[in-house]
Amino acid sequence: MLAVSGGALAQQHWSYQPIARPEPPTVPDAAWRQPIDAFVHAAMQARGLAPSPAADRATWLRRVTLDLTGLPPTLDELDAFLADTTDEHGAKARVVDRLVTTPAFAERWTQWWLDLARYADSQGYEKDGLRRTMWRYRDWVLDAFARDVPFDRFTIEQLAGDLLPGAGDEQRLATAFHRQTMTNTEGGTDNEEFRVAAVVDRVDTTLSVWMGSTLGCAQCHDHKYDPFTQREFFELYAFFDQTEDADRDDDAPVLRVPTLEQRAAAKAIELELTAVRARLVAGEGDVAAWAADVGARHAAFRAAALQLSPWRVLGPVPAGGLEAAHRTAFAPERDGVRLEEQQEGLAWRVEPTFVDGAVHTWTGNGAAVYLHRTIEAASAAEAVLSLGSDDAIKVWWNGIEVLAKEVARGARLDQEVLAVDLRPGTNTLTLKVSNGGGPSGFAFALRVPESGAELERVLAVAALDRTSADRAVLAAEFVARAPALSAERAELLRLEGAFDAQRGPAVPVMRELPADRRRETRVHRRGNFLDPGDVVTPAVPRVWPPLPPDAGRDRLAFARWLMSRENPMTARVLANRIWSELFGAGIVTTLEDFGTQGEAPSHPELLDWLAAEFRDGWSLRSLLRTIVLSATYGQSSAWNESNREVDPDNRWLSRGPSFRLSAEMLRDQALAVSGLLSAKPGGPSVMPPQPDGVWMQIYSGEKWEPATGDDATRRSLYTFWRRTSPHPAMLVFDAMSREACVLRRQRTNTPLQALVLWNDPQFREPAIHLAFAAMQATGGHDDDTVRWLFRRCLQRDPSAAEMARLVELVKAERGAFAADPGLAERIVGAERHDLHLEVAAWSVVAGVVLSLDEFVSKR
């Protein structure tokens, strides 16, 4: 017998075979003759299963609305659909056609994509610095789903938009997909080590998302089971090894791309700028008067003949953190500077090396340093202090606090500019510099008021001797400095700032290295980047079809190859992912592994049919439309005798899809039914309420600043995502940190989930609002209010038993609140005094409905 090698066997693996569009089998049931249904029906028949009946119409409406938009239907939508009874398939198709064009549709599918893109608003790793601009990429995705951009274009732009011929800003912006990798800014780390980690992540993510293949282990050694060698891993790696980014703290390279609104706003600002610039002109008489005044002040400064003592320094005084260091008044601050005494157990020392005009540094985490010097003036004068500090600073001039600024920054001159009056005799200057982490330091310079070499030179020339060039200098300086034009200058500054702000946020993007700086990619022996092996060039693993010979060997060629008809994986993998979003499990349950170690497809022909269908035009919308209008999708999800025994996991699709909603959908649904949901689309990520103290970060002054107004109740898609600390309520419902691409979220069922539904203000507030809404919508009869709550939240009428139970509850709550009317007011707030008791009682009932299993699940 001939031995067949493992590799050869693996090459015959189903997923590596070309996709042919299979013919659907013929089935007897007329309602099951659409291709999807025919495949599913045949598979059921083969196992002695029968389909479930169609879900009742309201259940179907809730299911499809949640699936397509992530939100529940409104009461109007429910009533309209229930009234549309002429043609069942047509009525459903009209609903789907409406849903796929809503903004909510784009939001829901963007949410899906962000898990795969490992989207986050922070850099990850130890310091996890914030990326406050990444939303611009999220909005790119939103826009793509809103326009149903075909998936091949969607893919190619994200992987290699920068390399497209004539690439526009939006296409370059799309490449932020692979800049979602983490950046390590921890002190003492090797940037190359983490650049390599980012490139490895790009390979892993690309292969997982599009190819359903896991090559992670081939980073260190040849794959044990699948036909991939370590060399092949690094040949793939080579495609991604030529971008400029290199784990830099500032995430360079970045690209600023204005949004449409920003482009329009910039145009308007440009007009205003022209107008203000026209007002910034110098009249001859004004200039002369101003020059005389400044000249006099310069003369006074020179006459004062200032003598500066060397700096005296005390510290660092440890305080445990920047905030404490800055805010605590240590002895020099509390008792005054006493140079001859020990203060805070430390002596003042002279620092002759702290010369003016340069930055001086020291070390001391979470500590404060005091600096003190005297300035002798022969006569009164004005002067300007230029200061810089790392980090926070306080300044006392002649014993009076003139500046206090709690900031985190590196020091440079002119961060702070203070005008001071020098009195004749001794003046004192005391600084306090407080440091968070890393180096600390300061910079100082003292200047004549209205300083500047040119201005000083011209003013030293007698007025009558000034040349026309001198007068031009004065006119320009007048425009730049004179108090008479301060309003115009402020306006100009404001407009310039506003104009700059409209250039768009700076988003990290992929940018290819120029030809002379390209890296030589080598195999990393045992996965260790410090142990380079053979040189490799970009190529795709042998088990897959090769790149076309005339294509380049760069990311663009690779992205095009991914989406080519010859590639058997991508269409299957993506169709399976989309199926799994609707059904809760893929036809291949291991969404991320279509290799020999993955699960085999339950319905191989259905998968191939869907893949072929999707590949024709790559339209997410039309694929979704086909699936949700199938009889398979439309079945009742209730369990029955036969499908409980034979199909407990619904692998054979003998029930409709049903499972708990995602963290985001749960919150959005509660906001929606209570009327609190804000429809505001896109823009910077927001910070809805979360418990205090959840963001506790070692080196960072960043704070969770709870959003107010509309921003507190926007869709969860827009919630700020910090990798080391995602919103805790979302974590409870199985959102993940997004440190790596999230291929499949878990769906757990834990007591902490009950606690969030009961106690998180993000669910409690909706309960109160929902109670209000229910009372306003009904006439005050308990039965009507319960019915309204059920229809609003569950899209159905309550049964008699359910009705009786909730009426019993509201009566009990009414009684209990009546015994303590102040309590009701505390719950409901000060308005609508007449309704306190009722709203309080109904808010308990509404809270019960918002935590019902049926409400938190898709049925």
Binding site: G124, E126, N184, E186, G188, D204, G216, D226, P316, P318, G321, T361, T363, G364, N365, A367, A585, T589, T590, D593, Q597, N640, P648, D649, F659, R660, P691, G693, Q697, I698, T724, S725, L731, E739, A740, Q746, T748, N749, T750, P751, L752, A754, L755, W758, P761, E802, R805, E808, E813, A816, R826, I827, A840, V844, V845, V848, S851, L852, E854, R859
Partner: protein, 468 residues
């Protein structure tokens, strides 16, 4: 799934293909092959683990590994032979050796211990001192990931999550994996150190907070007393019961039970977390003040938690990163301050566990994520004494069930630079602690992204020399 262990129950359908089962008891059975009742080869010696992580990494060289040669050559340039191929986090140029800066006292196991730890010195007879710990990483976050999750980058489940996944909880009213923080900041690697990684999120460590409610979202909103919460719970579960009958999804029954548990937790968690009703002599022993946020309070809380059956209690105490850039992180000011914060409390924990018989079933692990250099760091010419990060050797303490008492394992060279005897990699420590819990580290796996993962990655050996 007749009587689901509620803390470990997750949606069954969602995990097709994820091996082994999510249920602790089932997982354990899988690990030891069969439920025929025969005692397994690796019978558990430990039920609970308390892992005290000194975040930033203490200078264990100055605590438990006295080097007379270092004192003799104090201030001299370190020998050239050591420097090639060495990467430092902060040291630049040719560093100088740094002798010990504190005196020594004799521990009750006969070894020299830093004088700043007089209480701990009297406990060492019951402790295994490992002088030969080794790691691969010399930056905090990667080293912490490696220590707690077996790999240097985020994304893997942490030890406690594996323990919860493999063994479940012993207390139906409390989570299996609890995390306590002191010292004022999060560990460098953040909450990833108690992440469930790719394991079901139910196994994630639950942070008991020292300020505010002990568990997030535990407290009822304004206007809810126990009676109202119970009325709402009963009504909700009655409706859920009707729905379970009508629809038939078993997840609904689980949700009903989880709501009941949540209701019980609202009492059991604050009770467990409240150290106020401990008697005065216990507070005197630990040096605790009810309501404070301190390492001592967390030690006492750790005892209360293992007493109640919490499987894995993980303490992180920050402030140990003794670089010597200022008095806030040097050997002369900060190190004695940290020593004073833990010496009595750590000793009290051992005494208290022993008195209650809990040390018979609990393993206590103490240590940082790596060692510190035998040289003075002198960053930017700093005049304060301190040591840089050092992955090649460090000491850890193990005490309690299954480990030797009074033993010293491993040795380092005369400068404390490299291990000379019995190097114990952090993967070995993980394998050994899992072994003590009755789990074979090569068999506790979870399939993710197409391959089986385990805590020890592809490394780790159970180290018999640590075992009693």
């Amino acid at each position: 799934m007749n009587a689901p262990d509620l803390f470990t129950s997750a949606s069954r359908r969602a995990f097709l293909g994820s091996a082994p089962s999510l249920l602790g008891a089932l997982a354990l059975r899988d690990l030891f092959g069969g439920d025929d009742g025969k005692p397994s080869r690796a019978a558990p010696r430990v039920k609970n683990v308390i892992w005290l992580h000194m975040e930033g990494s203490p200078p264990t060289l100055d605590m438990f590994d006295r080097k007379p040669a270092l004192d003799r050559h104090d201030g001299q340039k370190c020998p050239d032979a050591f420097l090639p191929k060495e990467r430092f986090a902060f040291i630049k140029g040719h560093p100088h050796l740094l002798g010990h800066r504190h005196g020594w006292i004799r521990g009750n196991n006969g070894i020299d211990v830093c004088e700043l730890f007089p209480h701990l010195a009297q406990q060492l007879r019951d402790v295994t001192l490992v002088r030969s710990m080794v790691t691969d990483q010399f930056n905090h976050a990667p080293a912490e990931h490696l220590l707690f999750a077996g790999a240097p980058r985020p994304g893997r489940p942490s030890f406690g999550a594996w323990a919860s996944y493999g063994l479940g909880s012993e207390n139906r009213d409390l989570p299996a994996f609890v995390v306590l923080l002191s010292g004022g900041s999060l560990p460098s690697a953040g909450k990833a150190l108690w992440s469930a990684g790719f394991l079901p999120s139910v196994h994630q460590g639950v942070e008991f907070r020292s300020v505010g409610e002990p568990v997030l979202y535990l407290q009822d909103p304004p206007g809810f007393d126990r009676a109202r919460r119970e009325r709402a719970l009963r009504a909700g579960n009655d409706l859920n019961g009707l729905h379970a009958e009508a629809h038939g999804d078993p997840e609904t029954r689980t949700r009903i039970a989880q709501a009941e548990l949540a209701f019980r937790m609202q009492l059991s968690v604050p009770e467990a977390a409240d150290v106020a009703n401990e008697p005065p002599d216990v507070h005197a022993l630990y040096g605790t003040t009810p309501g404070a946020s301190s390492f001592a309070n967390n030690c006492l809380l750790a005892r209360r938690l293992v007493e109640r059956g919490v499987r894995f209690v993980q303490l992180h105490d920050s402030g140990w990163d003794i670089h010597g850039t200022s008095p806030g992180d040097d050997l002369m000011t900060q190190f004695p301050k940290k020593a004073a914060q833990i010496d009595r409390a750590l000793s009290a924990l051992l005494i208290d566990l022993r008195r209650r018989g809990l040390l018979e079933e609990t393993l206590v692990v103490w240590g940082g994520e790596f060692g510190r250099t035998p040289m003075n760091e002198a960053r930017d010419g700093s005049a304060y004494w301190g040591r840089d990060h050092h992955p090649h050797c460090f000491s850890m303490l193990l005490a309690g069930a299954g480990v030797k008492r009074g033993a010293v394992v491993g040795a380092t060279d005369e400068l404390g630079w490299h291990v000379t005897d019995a190097p114990i990699h952090v993967h070995d420590l993980q394998a050994t602690v899992l072994f003590l819990l009755g789990v074979d580290h090569e068999k506790l796996t979870y399939k993710f992204q197409g391959r089986p993962f385990r805590l020890t990655d592809v490394h780790g050996k159970v180290r018999r020399e640590l075992l009693a």
